[in-house]
Symmetry: C2
């Protein structure tokens, strides 16, 4: 098939009529599909069922340091949970604080603390006229929601397959002292599934920010979330890279077991320099007497160590891979060569990113919705929910079954074609 | 025995020599006792052992609203957990948000949110020159730590057996718009074990604050924490009292199961008006996708309902009562009539409050420590850690055994006597 751009007006009109008929047919099927969020499917959650049984009424409820996990105390997490989360991130346990059930909350709290108390002794951000963050986009909408909630000005940084546009990052960060941070999902990025190149990580570590309180928010959400046993992205470990570059305090790394054990009841952690952690703990010790250590112990008793977690992740991969492949198979078969969209082929993570023709994303998402399929809102992957080209759509294959994903993607490509034809006819 | 104040200098000197000898003897015993914090004992934590077994790999993990508790979502808690916490507080489930493992964190987050985003549309507190809180004292040190951490000026309000000095509260709150809140532990108060009278609660509900964003922080930490089956304090329910008085938005109530199930792994909740909760949830939905609902379900499946919790609390009472009585027995026997101290006899809660002669508390705590017994730091029960009379000492009987409590209190009264004699000799 020819690219749509090469079709004559008559051909486009004929195609439109045919696609419209197909669409009416699809609408009649009464589909109800949700591809909006990166939620694990029940089959994935079932994988961790055994975790409900490792602790019983007779269990030894003491952590390796002799502390009763049921009682108050131990602000930074039990030692074995610190080790487990450290191993996930490839850092030292002494650089880790294990918190509650969500890394999102740690990120929010970190920004909130910077607003009210500053960073390592700097002026609290709420006392400054302007605070800005760099936002590689397409990116994670909940990151952007945090910065927006605190009135932080967001600057979009274009993403490339090797990571954010580092020329732009370096220039802005070194010139503007009101830029206090950057959001990063360095591995299997949300939504493109890109992993930062070694060069990108090294350039991050070597940044020379104008602001002493500039921090990299390194959200390693998909650090061990591979889709394949034999095709796995690896990225450089940022804490040690920053340390080598003389920027030991410049990064906060976040991770969690939300997509390892349970999305609502995992454990989350932050890794950073001793100076940063000491500063944070001054607030944390006021905010809590200790996070849920029973759940920390439950995770450690169940997974044992990083090998246990990695083996568990391969079971997730076996469930997720067919869903991703179902999407890719339809996209490949139906859209290759048509010139109306491009898509990513990640080796891990939770998303496929689709780049429609400029000005088509909102219309595609609306058409899908009209036929019973909910996608992440168009624009959500950009700061303020505004995709300047209106072209990016995030596809989240995890929750439906592979069969549903095939059906959903059939509908998706139909909507892409129909909206693209309409767009070309407008021109 | 005569009151110490009536003893002659010679009698005091003789007594001092005798007490000093006893103290040296006590020091030689190498005691190691910790009465510093209101921590449940392991025997209490064991009571909830069955909670570890209500969820298994085969359990139905759906909440009553059909939501899989293992997955993302449900910001304000699963319906049955909301009902359980509502019943603990005697409020409606619709007025409750169930959060993570600590009410302290909800309080901290509530203050933090007020700093950065204001209260129901008011100016963010961080933009104001002065923010003040009223602090009934003796009170809970962790409350004062939160306000101090955010640079909020604390004004001490004297406590009475019926609650805070309400004349002072009413006057200050109505005159000074920079007063934004008051910390209250209305039932079995920390550390005195006092419960607010109906008149006090009604006067709270009827406050006419100068500040529209003034809020009562009603920390109902010991709401069901009775020591006796037949002597139980009850207080008026504050939300409905505030509503009746036309002040529906003036109060936040907090409670948790930290001293019901596990101190480190319970569930906590906030109750407030719909307007307040809606305002809060605008931030909460940015801060988290949802709190740990598996733990919420675990609590509900284990306790079933408020009757289950109340029955469980009587088991706690059976373990705690002998410890309180061991302390009171020694205090009664050793200090009655000596004029060197007064103490409270609470029907619930976690503490006994001891009022030493003015200027003696720090010295008593230091002497206890020298002999191997750690008490809460003297002054901790007052804002900024400064007890103006240096007389209040918080006794936390929960963690040691009754036998240890008897030994500990023997040492305590010895130190009280010795320090009091020394004080009288100075005069």
């Amino acid at each position: 098939m020819k690219a749509y751009q090469e079709l004559s007006r008559e051909e486009l009109l004929a195609l439109q009529a045919q696609l419209q008929a197909e669409y009416e047919d699809a609408k009649g099927k009464g589909l109800q599909l949700d591809m909006s969020r990166g939620k694990p499917a029940a089959t994935q959650l079932n994988l961790a069922g055994g975790m409900m049984e490792v602790l019983t009424a007779d269990s030894d409820m003491k952590a390796s340091n002799g502390f009763d996990v049921r009682n108050y105390g131990v602000l930074d997490g039990i030692p074995e949970a610190k080790q487990l989360m450290a191993d996930m991130m490839g850092v030292k346990a002494e650089n880790v604080v294990v918190c509650g059930n969500a890394s999102l909350t740690i990120m929010y709290d970190t920004i909130s603390r910077s607003m009210t108390h500053g960073v390592l002794g700097s002026t609290p951000w709420c006392k400054l006229d302007t605070v800005k963050f760099l936002c590689p986009a397409p990116g994670y909408d909940r990151h952007f929601a945090i910065t927006q909630h605190f009135g932080i000005e967001m600057i979009t940084i274009p993403m490339t397959p090797a990571g954010p546009d580092m020329d732009m990052v370096e220039k802005l960060v070194s010139e503007d002292a009101s830029i206090k941070g950057i959001w990063c999902v360095p591995k299997y990025s949300n939504p493109q599934g890109y992993s930062y190149s070694d060069e990108t990580v090294k350039r991050f570590a070597a940044l020379k920010p104008a602001a002493e309180d500039f921090r990299i928010f390194w959200d390693n959400a998909y650090v061990i979330h591979h889709l394949y046993a034999d095709k796995q992205d690896e990225i450089l470990e940022i804490l040690s890279e920053c340390e080598k570059a003389g920027n030991a305090d410049m990064v906060y790394e976040f991770c969690s077991t939300s997509k390892v054990s349970y999305a609502g009841a995992g454990i989350a952690a932050i890794a950073s320099s001793k100076a940063n952690l000491d500063w944070m703990k001054k607030s944390m010790t006021i905010q809590t007497i200790g996070y849920d250590k029973v759940n920390q112990l439950r995770h450690v008793r169940y997974y044992k160590d990083i090998n246990g977690i990695n083996a568990h992740m391969m079971k997730h991969a076996d469930l997720l891979r067919p869903k991703f492949e179902a999407v890719l198979k339809v996209l490949d078969a139906e859209l290759t060569g048509l010139g109306i969209g491009e898509w990513t082929r990640p080796n891990g993570g939770y998303f496929i990113s689709f780049e429609a023709m400029e000005g088509c994303a909102k219309a595609i998402v609306a058409k899908c919705k009209e036929a019973g399929m909910v996608l992440t809102g168009a624009g959500a992957t950009y700061p303020y929910g505004k995709d300047p080209k209106d072209s990016n759509i995030r596809i989240a294959p995890s929750f439906p079954t592979p069969e549903e994903m095939a059906v959903a993607t059939d509908l998706f490509v139909l909507c892409v074609k129909l909206v693209s034809v309409e767009k070309l006819l407008e021109q």
